[in-house]
Amino acid sequence: MRTSRYEILHDNTRCDLCKSCVYQCTRNVFSYDIDQQRIAVDPKNCVNCQRCVEFCHHQALKVQINRNHYHENAYWTMQDISQLFQQADTGGILLSSMGNPKPYPIYFDHLLLNAAQVTNPSIDPLREPMETKVCLGKRTNDFKRDDDGLLKLDVKPHLHLDTPILFAGMSLGAISYPAHEALLAAAKELNTFYNCGEGGLPQKFYPDENHIIVQVASGRFGINKDYLKHCAALEIKVGQGAKPGIGGHLPSRKNNELIAKTRMIEENSEAISPAPHHDIYSIEDLRQLVYALKEVSGYQKPIIVKVAAVHNIAAICSGIARSGADIIYIDGFRGGSGATPMRIRDNVGIPIELALASVDETLRKEGIREEVSVIAAGGIRNSSDVVKAIALGADAVAIGTAALLALGCHLCQDCTSGVCSWGIATQQKDLTKRLNPIQGARQLVHLVTAWTNEIKEMMGGMGISSIESLKGNRLMLRGLHLHEEELRILGVKHAGSR
């Protein structure tokens, strides 16, 4: 980069030379000038992670976008120019992290929720029972009786959650061990699920298997009989919202002893997850892997299939529902990533709101909606996004970025560097210890508890006492500033229409 993205305003009058910024910054922006007895600042490598600002006890620091601008115009923005310069300098594919930051329409913000008035009563969630429990898996529509007239119960395996929020799969490698500890501890306390991602499962986590979802991805990292045993559900990861059609690649420098042990690969080797599963070229092939895993679990555990929201998502999900999978996990284009080619992240895939509505509609039309549960993910920012996603047809949502923010992430989108100052997206021991897993778990529990209470309030306002009654209930949604086609796909009426 030829010009720094940020500039640092350092107020000498407030600074007491405690040097906390020097210690906290992982990118050598600050140094202590012993001759002049002052803090020297070099903003070249600053990514605005806010670590220095939060640790400056006299609030002597501010980070702001560099006021110096290239000669940009409405077409060639500062970003376009600087990225072009970078590629001309290095010849590299631009690599970035976290979710798509581009100003595409956010459909969640164009959907408004309903509330009960006069003709039906609203419910006070603080004083009346509200049901946020969710059960994920296949449901049966038909009743069968045996010769004695008794109900034949063919109960399929399910996941039971106290709140319709799960943690998204993030691998050990993408994020740190304490981050995993925090997510698992929080999932346990909240009675929901932690997802170990595709980087294997630390053996220490085995006792909490009832709150663990494990992934089977194309790289098959860390998968053995114990891995398949110590989990509540198995997830086949086909795609990821941040990088549909693209595999994973953990560079060798991040593959330290712990990562290698958990993934069961050689230390300091590249950990490549191929873009395709070479055993899955069709829905029939997917069915094969689904059933291979069902066989492994003796048909006792639900199988999740995770796909990125892409153009044909409705047809794809219809196929997945017929493959025998119990749960479909759809990841929208705002979904996060530890490292993703920027052009892919910013330009591939579709918004989760449209994908979800389209999938729910298709599955209902085809009469197979109850064959699967649907988890929506990829950019869930708050509890109203959760409520809207459920009203658009999701059974539950998964949060990744939001969970990391609760752990201290400040969304600087620089996970690829491996020197996350917050101890989250790093494997350096001196940095990972910055994240206290107990405190992290508390933050996550706070967040999900707060969201759950907010969800109850919104449900109560609508006069709905059970989250199940909200699922796919689009009458609870109205669109604002949306075109006819958008409304049609979302299956909602425009605000003000009867």
Binding site: P274, A292, T416
Partner: protein, 237 residues
């Protein structure tokens, strides 16, 4: 225990195999049943017939001997143990294999040994008696693949052998200039230590498949670039 798999579906057959406490199991008349012996450990299973897809996935010990052919995805994510096929098998056999041995008497399809990896004492080995199709050892990260080409076919392996490989070793038995010329990869002569390692593996292979191999077979190693093939491809924004 002896099982007759005739007219039995996959889940029924596998249920019997899974719940059987005998250490030795013989299954006759296998005809396309899938997922046989998934996650099996410590059992000696002998199969007669043709196995369907996903034979011995996640195998974590014991031995599987098949008198016949197998379809796709044999030994997917195999962790330990031994699979001996007295015949051929389809595509993607040994996918993500981490340990154990996969011996194939005849040919295998495409993408054999894809993403095979080693971990500490676990060093997976695949030996193919006949030939392999395209993308043999794609993304190979560890372990050893040996192709014997015992019937001296002109093409010992298909196209893109070792594509994206960044560890492990692929050895090809090549007899004449024509075969060497066909092989698209850069070939290296093997060392004495490698020859000894191959000999050790092949003596076990001969024994398990009850065949006799010729002495002094000439092997070449396919050059695997470096451990970090994608270093420098990216630039962090």
């Amino acid at each position: 225990m002896i099982i007759d798999a005739k007219k039995m579906n996959a889940s029924a057959l596998n249920h019997i195999i899974r719940s059987c406490e005998d250490s030795e199991i013989i299954v006759n008349n296998v005809l396309g049943q899938r997922y046989i012996a998934n996650v099996s450990e410590n059992k000696q299973i002998t199969l007669y017939g043709t196995c369907g897809n996903n034979l011995a996935n996640f195998l974590s010990g014991g031995s599987i001997t098949l008198y016949g052919n197998a379809q796709e995805n044999v030994g997917d994510t195999m962790d330990d143990g031994e699979i001996v096929i007295h015949g051929s098998c389809g595509d993607a056999c040994g996918y993500g294999m981490r340990g154990g041995r996969l011996y194939i008497k005849e040919d295998c399809g495409s993408r054999c040994g894809i993403h095979m990896k080693a971990y500490q004492e676990k060093q997976p080995i695949i030996v193919i008696g006949g030939t392999a199709k395209d993308y043999l050892g794609e993304y190979l990260a560890g372990g050893m693949i040996i192709v014997l080409n015992l019937h001296d076919e002109a093409k010992c392996v298909g196209k893109y052998c070792g594509s994206g490989a960044h560890g492990g070793a692929i050895y090809l038995r090549l007899t004449d200039e024509e075969q060497i010329g066909y092989t698209p990869n850069i070939l290296s002569e093997i060392t004495v230590a490698e020859q000894q390692m191959i000999d050790t593996v092949l003596s076990d292979y001969q024994q398990k498949l009850c065949i006799k191999l010729a002495q002094n077979m000439k092997f070449y190693r396919i050059e695997i670039k470096d451990k970090n093939p994608y270093e420098g491809l990216y630039t962090e924004v």
